[in-house]
Point group: C2
Chain length 234, copies 2
DNA sequence: TATCTATGTTTGACTACCCTAACAAATAAC
DNA sequence: GTTATTTGTTAGGGTAGTCAAACATAGATA
C-alpha cells in the first residue's frame, strides 16, 4: 500500500508517458508535473525503484514497471469513476470534478470502487471523454483525432478534451461546446493556423492550441470501425 | 485547513467528550483512542492549542474551543453522510461503512458534502442511528435510552447502537436485530444482569454489556415528545 | 504527612517529504 | 572536439508526525 504522495508520482509518470511518449519522461519533467523540485522527484524515484514500481538507470529515462503501470491505471480508474459520479449524480460541472477527484482517487477500498462502478452502471467514459479502465485495468480504445485534422467543409463530433484544466474547460463550455457536440469546420487560416468553426448555428474562430486540445471523430464514425473521412483510425 | 492527522485529533476529542464526559479527557485517554503514545498526543495538543482549537492548561484536562467543536462536528457530519451513502447507495453492510468513512471524512470540499447531503435527501440519521449534523452543525436530538432501562414485560424499538465496532455490529445483525427492530423484554436476570429478549418471535439472552450498547425508545414514543413508559426523556 | 502510583511532559531521535545549493553527466552549439 | 547549456544527482537542512526514555506533577494510599 503506497502513500498518497507515492501514488501521485506513479500517476504523473503514467500521464506523462501517455501524453508525451514513454521515452521522454525525465526528472525535471516529472518534478514540474508534480510541482516539486527535481531533487525531490529524484529522491522519490529512488524509493519507487527500490519498491520495483519504476525502472531507470542513473541519468537515464524513467519508465514504470508492469506493477507500477498497473497501480497507476487503478488510480486513474478511481479518478475517472469519481469524476463521473460527481458529474452525473452530484451536479458538478465538468470543470469542477477534477480537483475533488484528485482527493477521492486515493481512498483505499476495492469494494468501494467496484460498487461505485456498478452504481454508475459501468460507464466507459468520464465527463471529459476519457476512457475508464475496468476492474482488470483494460481500457476501451476509441478512434479519435483532434480538431486540427478536420478539413475545411467537413463536420465532426466532439468526443473528448486533451487539456483538463479549469480554464480550458470553462472556455470550451462558454463556446457552447461539450461532449457529442457537432462541429462544422468552416475554414482554416494558413496565416495563424486558426480554425473557423460552426457550433449549433453559431460561428467562432479558435486558435491552433485550442483545436489541438479537442478530440473528435467524424460524424459517420462508429466505434471499432476505421473512419473513411478523417484519419480517425490513426 | 487542518491536516488529516489534526482532524483526527479533533474528532477523537469530540467523541471522547461526548461518550465519557467533557471533564474526563486526558492525554492518555486521547492517545489510546488514536493509537499513538501519550508523548505524541501531547505534541499535537500543543499545536492545536496554538491554533486555538483546544484549550487546556499544563497537567489540566482538555477541552475543545468553540472553533474546535465546530470543526469536529463538520467532520462528523461528513463521516455520517458518507456512511449513509455507502449503506444506502453502494450496498455496504452497516459493519463495513465505518472504516471507509474514516477515509472519506477528510475530503475537502464544501460543495461535495452539501451536494451529497442533497443527493441523499438530507438524512437525519446514519446507518447506526446516529444523528447527522446539518450544514450549520445543528443536530437533531432524539429521546432515547438503552435496552438496560427497559423493564421486563415491556416492548421497545431499537433506534441506534452505542458501539460501532465491526464485532458488535455483526453480532447484532446475527441476532436478527437492526434499526427499528421491535424488541420485547421477556425477563431480566438479577444474577448476571443479563436480559432475555424476543425479536421477531425468537428468544435470546443478551449480556449487560450488550444491552448497554443498544439504544431504544418505547414503542409509542414520538420524536420530540417525552415518553410515558420508559425514561426516554432523560 | 510521606510515599507510591497515575498521569502528563520533555528530550532526543527517526522517517517521509520537501527544499536550496553545489556538483556531475549528457547534450547541443560552435 | 571543446565549450556552453540543459538535465540529473548529491549533500545538507527543514517540518510534520511518530516513538522511547527520562522526568515532573497530581492524586491516592498508607
Amino acid at each position: 500500500m503506497l502513500s498518497f504522495t507515492e501514488e501521485n508520482y506513479l500517476k504523473a509518470l503514467h500521464n506523462i508517458s501517455e501524453a508525451e511518449g514513454v521515452d521522454l519522461v525525465g526528472t525535471n519533467r516529472l518534478a514540474a508535473a508534480l510541482q516539486v523540485k527535481p531533487a525531490t522527484a529524484n529522491d522519490m524515484l529512488k524509493k519507487l525503484k527500490e519498491k520495483s514500481y519504476v525502472a531507470y538507470e542513473k541519468y537515464g529515462k524513467i519508465k514504470l514497471t508492469d506493477a507500477g503501470a498497473q497501480y497507476a491505471v487503478a488510480i486513474i480508474r478511481k479518478h475517472r469513476l469519481w469524476e463521473t459520479f460527481l458529474y452525473q449524480k452530484l451536479e458538478f460541472s465538468w470543470d469542477e470534478v477534477h480537483e475533488v477527484a484528485e482527493q477521492l482517487e486515493h481512498i483505499q477500498s476495492e469494494k468501494l470502487i467496484d460498487k461505485l462502478d456498478k452504481f454508475l452502471a459501468y460507464p466507459a467514459f468520464d465527463p471529459h471523454g476519457d476512457p475508464i479502465p475496468n476492474q482488470k485495468g483494460a481500457i476501451k480504445v476509441r478512434f479519435k483525432t483532434t480538431l486540427l485534422d478536420v478539413a475545411a467543409g467537413a463536420s465532426c463530433r466532439m468526443v473528448a478534451v486533451k487539456d483538463n484544466s479549469k480554464l480550458f474547460l470553462q472556455y470550451v463550455a462558454n463556446l457552447g461546446l461539450g461532449l457529442n457536440a457537432i462541429i462544422k469546420v468552416v475554414a482554416k487560416q494558413d496565416y495563424d493556423a486558426s480554425t473557423q468553426i460552426e457550433v449549433a448555428g453559431k460561428q467562432t474562430s479558435v486558435s491552433e492550441k485550442f483545436a489541438s486540445n479537442i478530440f473528435v471523430i467524424c460524424n459517420t464514425c462508429k466505434v471499432g470501425q476505421p473512419c473513411p473521412g478523417l484519419r480517425c483510425q490513426v
